[in-house]
């Protein structure tokens, strides 16, 4: 069966954002084709590969690597795919397979808080979004109904309709943390795309505690579920199709895309509308790669902003032993947070943050530490149980402000297909560092309230990354300052739309995917609006299987 050479809408990338945009367009009667760089993978094989993996804390280790669609890997040593230009490392992770990176997300599906979209007006930092929180609400709702999001009624993000699912049962450890931190801190259950009952043809969570890197039972919504929904709605998906160029005509309209198959044979697919949904790093890379005599700096780049304003959520953390047995590792990995530091007048001075309590089993890390320390004999057994029962960890997700110098460019280094690799230029500014400093005081209070001993802070100035790639295709009304408009359309190309977290003009403090999906659904609606009489998102809400 030969792959199609044309479609009404061509979508580049089968991640959660591209696939749900494709699904929505198909439900509006559009003929949609998704081109996906990576191969199809099988859940059962990923579970088996994880169990056999020598690197269980490396979420990438069970996933296959394809030479034609490389992805950044850092263990056991870096594969050099995401070139690091510094000054601070930006070791982003993503998976290039059918369904994309959410194969190994932890399904935290938070909305922003309303003030997140107005930080310039309110706090004099960053930029304001071209959309209001109220405009986002129905798209958040639709995204939550599609993903099957479970949450508590009051998490600081207003909503007009209830969550589709009741909150996921809170692990015992989190109940104890919540009780012991009250009233100094309010600990709340996370809003998650994880089934608290069967929903969308998927079962309720059974607590495998392997949400990252793989949910064995399909209780957590993944991009592959979006691919399946899109296919059921009539969307065609071509795997192993590495788009390397986007073509335009004399007026700047996009006419076709070119892709390589794994043998490097080139194929051309023409279309009327195009969605670029290859993620916050590969999408700008593709725009930069598609430069032409008319657009020497790359497509969609008259503002010069393609790939710039790269943001994420750096984390610092505290690990310690509580004075009672908690036993992390029972139930899902990411159950609870402190949300109250996401917003406030302090945002004019330092980064806002969310504080996230892990429920990842501590057994692996404790075992490694004990062996490293040379704890042998009967003490090993006792220490393993003592530490695994009491070890807790809390981390920040810190806001980063848009800074044009933080950016993705094309490297002079090429991948196996001869395509330039992406290059990350990144630094962490004083605003974010001050936020990290403020959070250290919270860490100390939290540890004290839990009778903490053996406190281990992330060394000052060191951060880990959260893979929430934002900003590189930022949306805004001014075409001289932003890549995309308020609907994700490239300012420079009437029929090119961008979907994904890259369009977010600021990063806020919440894991970005739900916002990326809500914006993608809104983009799809804009591309193929409902007929006037039925123009309400409620129509598509009915299409959700539950």
């Amino acid at each position: 069966m030969s792959a199609p050479t044309s479609a009404e809408v061509v979508v580049i990338g089968s991640g959660i954002c591209g696939s749900l945009a494709a699904w929505k367009l198909a439900t509006r009667g559009k003929q949609v084709l998704i081109l996906e760089a990576g191969p199809r993978i099988d859940r059962g094989r990923i579970v088996a590969a994880f169990r056999n993996s020598p690197r269980k804390s490396d979420w990438m280790s069970p996933y296959p690597f394809s030479a034609w669609a490389p992805q950044p890997e850092y263990k056991p040593k870096s594969n050099g795919y995401l070139v690091q230009a510094g000054p601070y490392p930006y070791p982003a992770e993503y998976i290039r397979v059918v369904g994309g990176t959410t194969w190994h997300w932890s399904a935290l599906a938070w909305r922003l808080v309303p003030n997140d979209v107005r930080i310039k007006s309110l706090y004099g930092v960053g930029v304001d979004w071209p959309v209001t929180y109220d405009e986002l609400d129905p798209w958040y709702q639709e995204a939550e109904e599609q993903l099957g999001v479970a949450g508590l009624p009051d998490t600081g993000s207003p909503r007009k309709h209830p969550f589709p699912l009741p909150p996921v049962a809170e692990p015992w450890a989190m109940q104890r943390i919540r009780e012991r931190l009250a009233p100094t801190y309010t600990v709340v259950g996370n809003t998650v795309a994880r089934n608290s009952r069967s929903y969308g043809g998927r079962p309720a969570c059974v607590g495998n505690n392997s949400c990252q890197p793989i949910c064995p039972v399909n209780a957590q919504y993944l991009g592959i579920n979006a691919v399946e929904a899109a296919k059921a709605a009539g969307v065609k998906v071509v795997p192993n199709a590495v788009v390397y160029r986007i073509e335009h005509d004399a007026k700047g309209r996009i006419t076709a895309v070119d892709y390589y198959d794994p043998d490097k044979t080139s194929h051309r697919v023409s279309g009327k509308q195009f969605i670029l949904a290859a993620n916050g790093i590969e999408s700008p890379k593709l725009l930069l790669l598609s430069s032409s005599s008319k657009y020497p700096n790359g497509l969609a780049n008259s503002s010069g902003m393609v790939g710039r304003n790269l943001m994420d959520h750096p984390s610092n953390s505290l690990t310690f032993y509580a004075d009672e047995e908690m036993w992390l590792g029972r139930g899902p990995q990411s159950p609870d947070s402190i949300n109250t530091l996401r917003d406030g007048a302090f945002r004019s001075q330092h980064a806002a943050y969310r504080l996230d309590f892990t429920n990842i089993s501590q057994v692996l890390g404790v075992t490694e530490a004990l062996i490293e320390e040379g704890v042998y004999g009967p003490a090993f057994d006792q220490q393993l149980r003592w530490r695994a029962a009491r070890q807790l960890s809390v981390k920040t997700l810190l806001e980063v402000l848009p800074n044009p110098d933080n950016r993705i460019t094309l490297s002079s280094d090429k991948d196996a297909m001869g395509i330039p690799k992406p290059e990350a230029h990144y630094s962490i500014d004083a605003y974010t560092r001050r936020g990290a400093q403020a959070a250290r005081e919270d860490f100390a209070k939290i540890a004290a309230l839990l009778g903490g001993t053996g406190l281990r802070y992330t060394p000052k100035g060191e951060f880990s990354n959260n893979q929430h790639i934002t900003g590189t295709l930022g949306m805004g009304d001014d075409p001289t300052r932003f890549v995309t408009d308020r609907f994700g359309r490239a300012h420079d190309h009437e029929n090119l739309f961008c979907c994904g977290t890259g369009v977010m003009p600021t990063s806020a403090t919440m894991n970005s995917t739900l916002t990326g999906v809500a914006l993608a659904l809104r983009t799809a609606d804009h591309m193929a609006p409902l007929k006037a009489q039925a123009a309400s998102t409620d129509t598509t809400r009915e299409a959700v299987s539950s």
């Binding site: 020598p54 690197r55 015992w172 036993w327 057994v363 404790v366 062996i371 090993f380």
Partner: protein, 180 residues
């Protein structure tokens, strides 16, 4: 009794295959006193003796799975050509110098002993199911590695279902969940 394994070997192979080989035969009075509970631990083959003795000393467990022991021994000796000889040498040193397992690593590190990596290799194999270093590392065990077994009354290894929806909301050591 000396630390020489060949001399303490109770059953030298096929001549008397029916006789059960146990760990006691590989230990001296000193090491036997450290792991009295493990004396009846079966030993699959004579060349496993020193490895099993070290395993009992390092892991401090009442019993070690003989099938897993054989797999770990095979993987370790395939990965490290001198593994069997090193294991004998280390056991002999423990016997001669009466080294307490709790002090073993610091003693070997302090003396810059060439045998210093050995205890960690054996413990990584038993407790993490991992043999080898860096890119050459192999996973030989997961759900039956000791770190999973030691906490099995409270936790399932990741990817194994904890239990029915919501069961994790109960206290971990509630009646019925934990017998200990």
């Amino acid at each position: 009794m000396t630390g020489e394994l060949a001399m303490t070997e109770p059953d030298q192979g096929p001549a008397n295959p029916a006789r059960r080989r146990v760990l006691a035969g590989f230990l001296t009075a000193y090491t036997a006193s450290l792991v009295p509970w493990a004396l009846a631990q079966p030993v699959a083959a004579p060349e496993h003796g020193a490895f099993m003795a070290l395993s009992a000393l390092l892991a401090g467990r009442r019993s070690l799975d003989a099938g897993l022991a054989a797999r770990l021994f095979d993987a370790l000796s395939a990965m490290y050509p001198h593994f069997t000889a090193d294991a004998r040498a280390l056991l002999a040193q423990i016997n001669q110098q009466h080294i307490d397992p709790a002090q073993l690593q610091s003693t070997l590190d302090g003396a810059h002993s060439p045998l210093a990596p050995l205890p960690r290799r054996i413990m990584r194999a038993w407790c993490l199911g991992l043999v080898g270093e860096g890119e050459a590392t192999k996973c030989v065990a997961y759900e039956n590695a000791l770190n999973a077994v030691i906490v099995a009354d409270v936790l399932k290894p990741p990817t194994y279902a904890y239990g029915e929806y919501g069961s994790w909301a109960k206290p971990p050591l509630a009646e019925g969940v934990n017998a200990s």
